[in-house]
């Protein structure tokens, strides 16, 4: 994208130049263009050329160049035609006059004409039929000029006699046969036409450079404003994406189209926030309201259990009921906990966490569980530096990962917990030899209550990974679910703290 946009201008510039060069009688001259091209194609500005203002300006500039060239071309062509016609009339008139004169009077009439022609526009000459000079101020007869009495534009230059090797100049010329058999040549310099063309051309160059350079600079400056605002939007969107739905895009009091866009997005965000709040509120209040009666139910069952003798057949049933209610309560507690963490308010527990020590504690906590299931649980630590985080929450997140791994790894399998330092933090991997998580379920497992088909036979709420996900988001870390070497799940927790100096919460 970068390379593409930086080459954009020179390319257009070239095209404009080519168009000019294609026109008739237009010298291929790029001098006027080079400074423009070098000003704007400087590296580092390339990004700004992507803005719509700049693009419009370049298109407009190119059109301007094309139309100016066409206009000037027409002007040039019309002027030369007119001047040519005048020149031809003068030549023909003079030739007619001279041809009526007596042969003897001719040199004198020519000299008289010459004397009157102060700017030296006209040259005359009389030559023998073989082309030998007889009289006049023309050095030699033009080679390709037919003696037909009509005016022709000479392709090669002619030379004035008397000037030592004087400059050749372009001319329109007329030749006719005198009754004596001699050749009379009249020529008129096209200097004026050329000079006028030059003036027009220079005018065009000045006009283009004076319009294009400030135009492009202005365009660049103009495009910077909107780009800066887009960057502001970008910065404002970051916290929103991280979950602070109460943030809004900045709106200036200019009330331009960007502000219009920003306020549309802001309205959308407000609606989104309201809906999210509503959903979360409903979820939370269900969980919250059901907790109290469930706790009472559990208490009553517990009392009933204490009043029932262990030998009574109903004792087992009561115990079953208590277990169910306890599981239900745990599920609600987990749900409320996720919701609490998603509020992103908990920051007081943050401190520097020694991940290596924590890994060992987690191993210590879960090794017996793995062993009971006949699963090998190994840790592999290359100590990273301490990380800012909430030890208890991180412990909970990693515990959940390990607990999941143990749950899904069949007897005889193995689990590896790996910790490595990495750029800006630490990288933690939990690899198991279980069935793995299918590609299409990897996103879904992080959602609340999602349980894969393989998990349906196992106890659990489907909230474990959602809790992990919430904790990871709170820390600004990243969770990746992939595949281990032997087909099991590989969950990678990339612990690279984002800038915590700014609180995410409101």
């Amino acid at each position: 994208m970068h390379a593409e946009s930086s080459s954009l201008l020179p390319e257009r510039e070239q095209r404009a130049t080519e168009q000019r060069a294609d026109e008739p009688g237009w010298p291929s001259d790029r001098r006027g263009m080079t400074p423009v091209a070098s000003t704007v194609s400087a590296a580092g500005l390339s990004r700004s050329w992507r803005s719509s203002t700049t693009r419009l300006l370049i298109i407009y500039g190119a059109l301007f160049v094309v139309w100016s060239s066409v206009l000037i071309g027409v002007l040039h062509w019309e002027t030369s035609k007119y001047l040519g016609a005048i020149s031809d009339q003068i030549l023909e008139q003079r030739a007619r006059y001279l041809s009526t004169l007596d042969r003897q009077q001719l040199p004198a009439a020519m000299d008289a004409s010459n004397a009157a022609d102060l700017r030296g526009m006209m040259v005359y000459g009389v030559f023998t039929a073989e082309g030998q000079y007889v009289s006049g101020n023309l050095a030699y007869p033009p080679a390709e000029l037919p003696a037909d009495g009509r005016v022709h534009l000479l392709h090669s230059g002619i030379q004035r006699r008397g000037y030592d090797g004087g400059d050749e100049f372009h001319a329109r010329a007329l030749a006719l046969q005198l009754p004596t058999g001699e050749l009379m040549v009249l020529a008129r310099s096209t200097n004026i036409t050329e000079r006028i063309s030059q003036i027009i051309r220079q005018g065009l160059l000045w006009a283009l450079s004076l319009t294009l350079i400030p135009g492009l600079i202005g365009g660049y400056l103009l495009s910077r404003g909107p780009l800066r605002r887009v960057r502001q939007f970008e910065a404002a969107v970051q916290p929103i994406m991280r979950g602070s739905l109460d943030r809004r895009l900045p709106v200036s009091d200019r009330r331009d189209e960007l502000d219009l866009l920003a306020s549309i997005v802001n309205n959308m965000l407000a609606e989104l926030e309201r809906l999210m709040g509503e959903v979360k509120g409903v979820c939370d209040s269900i969980a919250h309201d059901l907790r109290t009666p469930l706790t009472r139910l559990r208490a009553q069952l517990h009392r009933l259990q204490q009043q029932t003798a262990p030998e009574d057949g109903r004792a087992a049933l009561i115990e079953c009921c208590i277990d169910e209610v306890t599981a239900l309560l745990a599920r609600f507690a987990a749900l409320l906990r996720i919701s609490e963490m998603e509020d992103l308010r908990r920051r007081s527990g943050f401190g520097m966490v020694d991940m290596s020590a924590m890994m060992r504690d987690i191993h210590d906590l879960y090794a017996p569980l793995a062993e009971d299931k006949n699963v090998r649980f190994a840790i592999d630590i290359d100590p990273p530096p301490p990380l800012p985080g909430d030890r208890e929450l991180l412990f909970e997140a990693i515990s959940n990962l390990i607990s999941n791994a143990i749950k899904f790894t069949p007897s005889g399998g193995n689990i590896r917990l790996q910790l490595r330092p990495c750029e800006g933090g630490a990288k933690l991997c939990v690899v198991d030899s279980g069935p793995g998580i299918p590609l299409d379920e990897r996103e879904a497992v992080l959602q609340r209550f999602y349980r894969s088909d393989t998990a349906l036979q196992l106890p659990g709420s489907g909230l474990g990974l959602s809790i992990v996900s919430a904790i990871v988001r709170l820390h600004g870390f990243r969770l990746e679910i992939g595949e281990g070497d032997d087909g099991g799940a590989r969950v990678t927790l990339l612990c690279v703290p984002r800038d915590l100096s700014q609180p995410v919460a409101n």
Binding site: R291, H302, A330, R337, P368, E392, E396
Partner: protein, 226 residues
Amino acid sequence: MPKVLTIEDDAVTAREIIAELGSHGIEVEWVDNGRDGIIKAVGAPYDAITLDRILPGLDGLAIVTTMRQVGVETPVLMISALSDVDERVRGLRAGGDDYMTKPFAPDEMAARIEVLMRRRRTAGPVTELRVDDLELNLITRTARRGGLELELLPTEFRLLEFMMRNSGQVLTRMMIFETIWGLHFDPGTNLIDVHIGRLRKKIDRPGLPPLIRTVRGSGYMLADAR
């Protein structure tokens, strides 16, 4: 008869506490506002106090802070409807000894109150713990049952120490997890059971009368086999 002060503005919760602690042989005195609460807490000796975090009149945090400032060391179990994790930290920092969120399981609450009262009675340096023929030397960090040395891992030692210090009391899984690992999330029932199972295997070897008992629906208890 041990005596507990309950400072709680919600009548339903208060009745629950009275009933549950009553069934454990604990007498409960109930006040429903912070002002009366602080007067009673500072004025009369209690074995423990259950304290609601949010009260009319005087806030629970303020009560416990004041109590500690005037040198009243009665153990306080803070009970709060605020489930926010930060609240626990705040409550414990203010001087609370333990923290529970509403709604709570009454048996868990009773177990916690008993542990608090017990901790107070046995305050002071202890070098050796003894339950039945099980001995735990806290200085040499060795454990013996019937004179035979037990090989315990550090975590197992801490777990056994906690259970022996509170012998004869029901310890819920949550209490064990909070005390031994210092964590407050729900680890799932299985995890603590496995750890207790390992300890049990080392202590209650086949043929010996079992010291660690499972209390149905609640947790575990280490007590004399007799």
